[in-house]
């Protein structure tokens, strides 16, 4: 089963973070990726730029064009900062994998809808 691990953390612009801190954060993710490879788990994942760089389209009204707005869909103190999609046996396995994943303020685990079954 495929699960998305959604990593939430306070908005961080990694370009402006001191190099040592950025290196340490990257090292944590490299360690997680080594864990995934070590277990032979199929995965993908990306990190997102901060929510200040987000653009959101909203319905402006019936029959009107979508409105382009500045900022994320929901303004939160902590935002989605990145994600992994992993192949896990079941939810317990996904939780175990997520425990190895670096986390800021929380990791949401969601099963992916499998259109094939």
């Amino acid at each position: 089963m495929k699960y998305m691990l959604m990593l939430f953390e306070p908005d961080t612009d990694w370009d402006t973070v001191p190099e040592a801190e950025r290196t340490a954060a990257l090292a944590e993710h490299e360690a997680f990726i080594a864990y995934l490879r070590g277990r032979g788990i199929e995965f993908s994942g990306e990190a997102l730029r901060p929510s200040a760089t987000a653009t959101t389209l909203r319905p402006a009204g019936p029959g009107e064009d979508l409105l382009v707005t500045d900022g994320p869909y929901v303004e939160l103190k902590e935002n989605l900062a990145g994600y992994y999609v992993v192949e896990a046996a079941d939810l317990d396995d996904a939780v175990e994998i997520a425990r190895h994943c670096p986390t800021g303020t929380g990791t949401e685990i969601r099963p992916l809808w499998d259109a094939g079954t």
Partner: protein, 409 residues
């Protein structure tokens, strides 16, 4: 004859469902098949006689119904993924160490489900309580409860909550979610948080059965033994908590001769066994709660209670399970060691903290301390404050009577 079906339901429902679920890998389908099997029993047993092994009979019928339904529905597209039934590395131990019911209990009580959902699922799937009765027990409408159950079952299958018993090393993480369900049933059963009567015997019976099953299946787990001890001790003292009119009687005024000595001996033995399987510093909350109940139960009179021991146990409890309600209980016990004046200062400090605002226990304890200090008018006001905060009619009546008596004195 319906007695035979009722007895078979009590003994066999969970086992039959737990077995059929492994075939259907769908909770709803299994539930329907098991329900059908019980309907068949009601129809056939009066004419054909009650089978020797009712659970085996029901399992066979339910399994066949489930297989028929699966054949019929094979062509229909599934909306939900199937239940994750991990293939065991080895077949189940032939001595039956892995009880089917445990899989069902651990799945219904998975920590990824919210407590109210776990409780509802456990009552419905493990105990076989019909949905309208589950709704009634928790004073919610039937559609609300049905929706809660549907959502929870959908999450189990869609999120891939596995249908399995956790390995021994996972138990410390997984057991609390199970024990919390039984504990909530027990607490609600003995003191309903809402409604007209203090006790709900059905919930107590369900909690007792679950605690017994858990203790039978995990006889070496200190927390499980502690929970069963608490169940026994609460039952032993249950009758003494109510007067002839169904009113509340406090521990201090209870007739200890009305307590069931056999249950107390049993409960104290279990509490001691729980503590022997751990150490005071490492004991979990259920073993400690049991130890506290045991100290109360063994006291020949309220005044003869070993309060110092109870204060110590509450202190240990606060270390493993910090909670403002437990702090309040510790202060109430401590008042018998340090005196009501010192305790009153502690209660006032507790009241300043938000978690206890709106909790009727706080003004009730304050009222008792004020009464013992002879400050009757203030005590009466506190009893009335507590009465206004409780949603249980029997507790409210008790608190208002206390207030009235103080004013009369």
């Amino acid at each position: 004859m319906t007695d035979a079906v009722a007895e078979a339901h009590r003994r066999g429902w969970a086992r039959v469902l737990a077995t059929v679920v492994r075939i259907t890998r769908d909770l709803d389908a299994a539930e329907d098949a098991v329900q059908d099997a019980f309907t068949a029993a009601v129809e056939r047993w009066p004419a054909q006689g009650v089978p020797d092994d009712t659970t085996a009979w029901l399992t066979t019928v339910a399994r066949n119904r489930a297989l028929d339904a699966m054949r019929r529905e094979r062509t229909l597209a599934r909306k939900l993924p199937l239940l994750m039934v991990p293939t065991p590395a080895e077949p189940d131990e032939p001595d039956g160490l892995t009880d089917e019911r445990l899989r069902l209990i651990f799945t219904c009580c998975h920590p990824a489900l919210a407590l109210p959902s776990r409780v509802a699922l456990t009552l419905r799937l493990v105990c076989g309580v019909p949905t309208p009765d589950v709704a009634r027990l928790f004073l919610v409408s039937q559609p609300t409860m049905a929706a809660r159950l549907t959502r929870a079952k959908k999450k189990i299958q869609a999120a891939g909550i596995p249908y399995r018993v956790p390995a021994a090393h996972e138990l410390p993480d997984r057991l609390p979610a199970v024990l919390a369900v039984v504990s909530l049933l027990l607490t609600e059963g003995h003191t309903a948080s809402r409604g007209e009567s203090l006790r709900q015997p059905e919930l107590i019976r369900t909690a007792t059965e679950l605690a017994e099953v858990l203790a039978e299946l995990m006889p070496d787990e200190a927390e499980v033994l502690g929970l069963l001890a608490t169940v026994r001790l609460a039952a032993a003292r249950g009758a003494g908590r109510l007067d002839d009119d169904g009113g509340l009687v406090l521990l201090s005024s209870q007739d200890r001769a009305s307590w069931d000595r056999g249950l107390i001996a049993d409960g104290c033995e279990l509490a001691a066994r729980a503590m022997r399987r751990t150490t005071p510093e490492r004991a979990g909350p259920y073993a400690l709660h049991a130890a506290i109940a045991a100290v109360h139960s063994e006291a020949p009179a309220y005044e003869a209670t070993d309060w110092a021991q109870i204060v110590t146990l509450y202190g240990l409890l606060l270390r493993v399970a910090p909670s403002p309600v437990t702090e309040l209980a510790r202060v109430a016990a401590w008042s018998h060691v340090a005196g009501p004046a010192a305790a009153l200062a502690e209660v006032t400090a507790l009241a300043a903290r938000p978690p206890l605002a709106g909790y009727h226990g706080l003004p009730a304890v304050r009222a008792d301390l004020l009464r013992r200090l002879g400050r009757n008018a203030e005590a009466a006001a506190s009893y009335r404050e507590a009465a206004a905060l409780t949603a249980n009619a029997v507790e409210r009546a008790f608190l208002l009577t206390q207030a009235t008596q103080l004013v009369a004195e």
